[in-house]
């Protein structure tokens, strides 16, 4: 009884705006994951590193007197470079996708430490002009919403262009792409760079939001990104009861990030130990990954076929 009594619904509502803001930032990151995981069919683990790189570059540059937008721009470039490395490891050196991403990710850990000079670097909104901060949550939500809207529009446009189409073709059918004159090594590197540039941008926003960058801030980013992508897709299709178009998918990926953070908020509100947060994340992602598969299976399965056969023969 005392446990239930200790749960205050006002606390849950109070934490909601913060969760939405964080969810939006991770939603941007998830758009990067969507490019590689869904469009290129390449599970890119670089993002754990490039998210932190984005945060590190942004904070260091702001501390050196750069304006926040300029710092974010450099963070994007750093992310592009990280993706480029993974792409070259894979295309030039023939390293399998997952391994190429892990290698860049582990290398970035040292690089991020070198960028920051220490494991954790604070940047106070009192002394520097930041784009967003958790002290002004409503403004932070608005700014990240604008970021999300602009980026979704850019991605929607880009993947409709000749170049963007060639990236989608590469992810769908490499043999066909080559036969149609697409240099699939180039498109892979391009997509990985764009993805990590976007991830670094959201890392830079996250660092400003929380007021510091941390060497471990990207740990598990790929799982959160996947969670957002998959939650968004599953929910979007459940709501509209059909396959979403590209614009809808991108929008729901960002929404997936928000929903993920609201779930996390509820988990914390239920006073479940925060040490187990990653465990909960893994369980959530596993559930949402399993839903489409189990749904398809529930329609046709060997067990059902056997049952039907038995009925008909009876």
């Amino acid at each position: 009884m005392s446990y239930l009594a200790s749960l205050n619904s006002m606390n849950l509502i109070g934490s909601l705006p913060g969760n939405i803001a964080q969810g939006l930032i991770w939603g941007l990151m998830a758009l990067g994951v969507y490019i590689t995981f869904r469009l290129l069919d390449f599970a890119d683990l670089t993002v754990d590193g490039s998210f932190a790189t984005g945060g590190a570059v942004t904070v260091v540059l702001i501390l050196h007197g750069w304006s926040a937008p300029a710092a974010l721009l450099v963070a994007i470039l750093a992310g592009l470079a990280a993706g480029l490395i993974t792409g070259l490891l894979h295309t030039l050196l023939g390293i399998p996708p997952i391994l190429a991403g892990i290698l860049t990710q582990i290398a970035l850990y040292s690089i991020n430490l070198n960028i920051m000079g220490m494991a954790n670097l604070a940047v106070s909104v009192d002394n520097y002009s930041l784009l967003i901060s958790l002290r002004k949550v409503t403004a932070a939500i608005l700014v990240t919403l604008i970021f999300a809207a602009v980026i979704i529009m850019i991605l929607y446009w880009y993947f409709g262009t000749e170049q963007g189409s060639s990236i989608r073709a590469t992810g769908c059918n490499p043999a066909m792409s080559k036969a149609q004159g697409i240099n699939i090594n180039f498109t892979k590197v391009l997509a990985l760079s764009l993805s990590n540039g976007l991830v670094a941008l959201s890392g830079g926003l996250m660092a400003q939001y929380q007021g510091f960058s941390d060497i471990n801030m990207g740990r598990g980013a790929i799982v959160i990104g996947l969670a957002a992508v998959i939650i968004g897709e599953v929910l979007g299709e459940a709501i509209f009861r059909k396959r979403l178009n590209f614009f809808g998918r991108l929008t729901f990926v960002v929404a997936g990030g928000v929903i993920y953070y609201i779930i996390v908020g509820v988990v914390l509100w239920l006073k479940l130990p925060s040490n187990d947060l990653k465990l909960f994340t893994a369980v959530i992602v596993a559930i949402f990954l399993a839903v489409p598969y189990l749904k398809a299976k529930s329609r046709t399965s060997f067990a059902k076929a056997a049952k039907k056969g038995a009925q008909n023969n009876a």
């Binding site: 409709g160 170049q163 189409s165 059918n173 043999a175 792409s177 036969a179 149609q180 004159g181 697409i182």
Partner: protein
């Protein structure tokens, strides 16, 4: 239009799986030649086509398309000169993309892909017209994902994509082998029509001797990585399946070891 000069290719050299696939292939195709290629399993038919397409570099010899030596040119660049249709209907198209999008990708084969919109309005109208020529009703499903089409529809679409921009050479790698006889017949008729209309130079690998005889103006037979028979003109028109089997036994000194071909 095409010269294959003394081309050699060995897979897995120096290992227990070593396989000499091409052992000095020589072939010259004139512009407008429609050449069918037959041969037993492992004779090197598909390998020869892949050598021309540049799927991998050859060990020796040269490949010249319309006067340009492309031996050192990678597959994606060679694609500018080639239209290709594969045995597996899944290979030639992008399943998660629409019919129009697939055609638009093919229309840009050989040109730079920039930041212009991927499919223009004028293009869509043009594709609608070309799709009508297939007579499969695809013109009413232009935005449908290609993954929803049947194997025969996908092969017909791939054929259209391969010839949307007139290729210097059309490579057909057993493109009807995975289809049921009726659909195969239809796709072959479409193939004949497109080749005749655009006056294309084409190579068609087939397992079916009757098809090899009925289509094209030239027939070559491959055996153990070499061209052992090259029949064209009048001789080709008079050719029958027993003739071909007999010729094969004469040239190779063994029986034609391919049930699929004989039964077909």
């Amino acid at each position: 239009m095409l010269d294959i000069i003394n081309v050699h290719k060995t897979f897995n050299p120096g290992t227990i799986n070593e396989k000499v696939a091409l052992a000095g292939v020589d072939l010259h195709l004139n512009a407008g030649d429609f050449c069918t290629i037959i041969g037993g399993n492992g004779a090197g038919k598909s390998t020869a086509l892949n050598a021309v397409a540049g799927v991998w570099p050859v060990d020796n010899g040269s490949i010249i398309i319309d006067g340009e030596n492309v031996t050192g040119v990678p597959e994606y660049k060679r694609a500018a000169y080639l239209g290709r249709v594969f045995q597996d209907p899944m290979t030639g198209t992008a399943a998660t993309m629409g019919i129009v999008e697939n055609l638009a990708l093919a229309a840009r084969r050989g040109s730079k892909r920039g930041l212009c919109w991927g499919v223009t309005k004028a293009e869509k109208e043009r594709y609608c017209e070309v799709l009508k020529t297939l007579d499969l009703g695809l013109e009413d499903r232009m935005t449908a994902k290609v993954g929803l089409l049947s194997g025969g529809q996908r092969q017909a679409l791939t054929l259209l994509m391969a010839t949307l921009r007139k290729p210097k050479l059309l490579l057909l790698d057993e493109h009807t082998a995975a289809l049921d006889p009726k659909t195969a017949e239809k796709v072959l008729r479409t193939t004949d029509k497109i080749i005749a209309e655009q006056q294309l130079t084409a190579m068609m690998v087939t397992h079916n001797m009757k098809d090899a005889i009925a289509h094209g103006n030239r027939l070559i037979m491959m055996h153990e990585g070499k061209v052992i028979l090259d029949i064209s003109g009048e001789d080709k028109m008079k050719l029958t399946v027993p003739d071909l089997l007999h010729q094969f036994e004469l040239v190779s000194g063994e029986e034609f070891a391919n049930d699929k071909v004989i039964l077909a």
